[in-house]
Amino acid sequence: MNMKSSSIASFLLLLYTLFLFPLSLSFFMKEKSILIDWTFTEINSCHMNMTILLDSISLSFSNVVCFISGCVLLFSSSYMSSDPFLKRFTWLVMLFVMSMNLLVFIPSLPALLLGWDGLGITSFALVIYYQNNKSLGAGMLTLLTNRIGDVMILLSIGLLVLIGNWNISLLWDFPLLFLLVIAIMLAGMTKSAQMPFSSWLPAAMAAPTPVSALVHSSTLVTAGVFLLIRFYPTLSASSFFEESLMFVAVLTLLMAGIGANFENDLKKVIALSTLSQLGVMMMSLSMNLPNLALFHLYTHALFKALLFLCAGAIIHGSNNNQDIRKMGLISKQLPLTTTCMNIANLSLCGAPFLSGFYSKDLILEMALIYPTNYLMILMTFVATGMTAAYTLRLSFSLLWGTQKSASLHSKHEADSYVNISTCALAIMAIISGMFLQMVFLPFEMFSATLSNFQKSTTMLVIMTSIFISLFFWKLSINESMKFKAFCSSMWFLVLLSTQPAVSFSSVFGSKLMKTSDQGWMEILGGQGAWKGSNSFSIMIQSMRSGMYINMIFVSLISIFLILLISYLL
């Protein structure tokens, strides 16, 4: 049997998921966690440890990651079938899955860096998979932004030297804890593309669509959230953590929600919606609800991967066109894919009884009863409305609108790889919310007592925004260009995080090289030392080259001088 490498990999991953599922379920039910600490060598009382933490969080996370990557690899058997380097692609994705698992299972910070850096490198390699300048630019932006996070992790490893223990789950208070909190928060924010570091996420859409589905929507970007969840007991001890994280999260939520309404690239719309959902997760973290954040992380990962796969199927069918202005009437051409995509979209909006409803709705309700200020609530709900609006916009132009593409197209649904993977994910997108709520909720006592008005606020906001967006769909409003530029460039973050950073560092670097490396450092360093020692040496040599009797004379004089000085002293 001649199987594609990606299919083999996906088979393995799905098998692993199947075996892991009962195990993670039992860990959930019994609230069990196992810490394996293996000291493989000890040098001068310095222990080299390999720590593995098996608990409900790590097992279920690994389960979700492997399930999604299995589906995605199955999908890429079709999507990447004409790619000459399918094997390399499969290896890269498998490396990615491996680093993700390392990150999930290892609670020791230096070893966790293995997975963390592995994610950065493999995601870079995957972004530049299509070798062109645009991909390289996007890849560099991705890599360098993530590099900030790597540095923050390194810094926190350095800080933790103070307490001599790098195990995340066993930290205690120490004088520089606030620095550790800042470092970990920044690391999580870069990986999860929160506000000042958001611009890499849409740029990373230069990667192949299956990669976007796996890496840049459901798993990699959630690594930041995961890190914060793992660190949560330590982080929540500091006073500024909640407020600052909530501020950043809500801003990201709003920015991404507005930006998605102005975006025309299909993949970028979905990327921005990912960004807003990451904001939702961060927000729930900032409201002392780490388990709810994890809940939303799982449901979001499932329906977002589905959304991406459907988008990939559509892009693949319409001759690699990603512009939503040149699509339309796909519901007639691809009924199954459209069905799946609708499920994902509705789940994203939080339509009742789909998976997104259980997690997102709960987070929004918790936001209503959480003691925060009015502005935050307002921004959160505006952003929620925006989510519904851009989802509807996507559906309008993509699925139901008039056909704007050429009538000659190659859309078909005979590919079993695509159908199996999308259907599997669609089933998960429907049932996972209900299922996870049954598993998760018993452990966390939510007592959301809301008035009728508050209870219906979420629905109201979604309905209103759907209505408004329906209304505006027909209406061509004369938008201000400046406002549009502001919104579609992620509040200028795209412009701010590429050119200024690059030009500053390159100009500063060249100046520094001229003044210091080729200037002062040379005079104070190699060249100067050479000149100094050379002239010193010439001085000494010239004494030797004279008459010998002079040297004897000099020796005599120095003897008498030394004697005289010692006598005087």
């Binding site: 020692s533 000494i540 004494m543 005599l556 004697l563 010692s566």
Partner: protein, 353 residues
């Protein structure tokens, strides 16, 4: 070499006897006489090759040593007046500081350390390799060990400070003097001054360290001088024109040069580490930085010699093409092996201190 001349052995025996006599004496006349016997026996060894340069060097050496002896006897006589004893043991405690200083300056002149080092490079420039080897090894024994015995008898702060300054100055001069030097023997003379500086410095803190340093320096010097003698590499130009491929001598010189520079895996590092270890607990740690600076500068010219040797060799190692007899090869290989055993030696020495 010396076996050609029947009197060679005689003079070598007398040379050794002079040094031992000087070191065994308890009063200054014996010390002085031993040094004089040593000098008288060394002069014929210097001039045996009958070249004009060796004779010139012999005369230069004689003048310097004679001056040193004169100061030695003068200083000891000044010390005689307060204590009415010419005994070495009574000397340092009860005499004027000026006599102690004068005697020590005489010893410094005799060994060729910092303020009075001028004669050493110009003497070495004209000598044969074997004489050079004796000059930098055996001829240092008497002055260095006499100096050491002053510290055995009593410890004076100003004296210790002076000796460490002499050490630092020697190291600096030994480092700077060799830069830009093209004659290999002069270069090794400056290297000898530099290493003497380290020995002088370590005398102050631990005679054990000084002895170890001296022993290791002698060991490496023997290897280097024997090999250079076989190759007859007078200056850097002649080194560059060897063009004979790697043979065991060149490999030996390369390794020993790095060892002399004191790079870690080799023996030369052990001696420097011992000195550093012995002085870290005392006040003069600051002076150590000058010593290290001096060795850094000497590393520069060692590497210069190293590279001109290394790049002169056209092909890879050919063990067959050695020069010299079997005994020399045995000596060479044993020195080479000892050079690589530094890790063991260090662990042994750490137990010792």
């Amino acid at each position: 070499m010396l076996s050609i001349l029947p009197f060679g052995f005689l003079f070598i025996v007398v040379l050794g006897f002079g040094t031992l006599f000087s070191l065994s004496s308890v009063h200054w006349l014996g010390i002085w006489a031993g040094l004089e016997i040593n000098l008288i026996a060394f002069i014929p060894i210097l001039v045996y090759s009958k070249g004009i340069t060796s004779s010139e060097s012999a005369v230069k050496y004689f003048i310097a040593q004679a001056m040193g002896s004169a100061f030695l006897i003068l200083g000891s006589l000044i010390g005689f007046s307060p204590s009415f004893s010419w005994n070495f043991m009574d000397f340092s405690a009860h005499s004027y500081s000026i006599s102690l200083l004068m005697v020590n300056l005489a010893l410094i002149l005799k060994m060729g350390a910092f303020p009075l080092h001028y004669w050493l490079p110009s003497v070495m420039a004209g000598l044969q390799w074997m004489s050079c080897l004796i000059l930098v090894t055996w001829q240092k024994v008497a002055p260095v060990f006499l100096m050491m015995s002053f510290f055995e008898v009593s410890y004076m702060f100003w004296f210790a400070l002076l000796m460490s300054l002499v050490g630092a100055g020697s190291s600096m001069v030994g480092g700077a003097g060799g830069i830009g030097q093209t004659q290999v023997r002069v270069l090794l003379a400056y290297s000898s001054i530099g290493h003497l500086g380290w020995i002088m410095f370590s005398i102050v803190f631990s005679s054990m360290a000084a002895k170890m340093y001296f022993f290791i320096y002698v060991l490496i010097s023997v290897g280097i001088f024997l090999n250079l003698w076989i190759l007859d590499a007078k200056n850097m130009i002649s080194v560059k024109s060897f063009n004979q491929g790697f043979n065991i001598n060149i490999v030996n010189i390369l390794v020993l040069l790095i060892s002399l520079a004191g790079l870690p895996p080799l023996l030369g590092f052990v001696s420097k580490m011992i000195v550093v270890m012995s002085c870290v607990n005392y006040d003069f740690i600051f002076i150590l930085s000058f010593l290290i600076l001096g060795s850094l500068m000497s590393l520069f010219y060692y590497l210069g010699l190293f590279f001109s040797l290394y790049f002169s060799c056209s092909s890879f190692l050919k063990i067959k093409s050695f020069v010299g007899g079997l005994k020399l090869i045995l000596i060479n290989t044993s020195i080479l092996v000892i050079n690589f055993l530094s890790a063991l030696i260090i662990t042994w020495l750490i137990g010792l201190f």
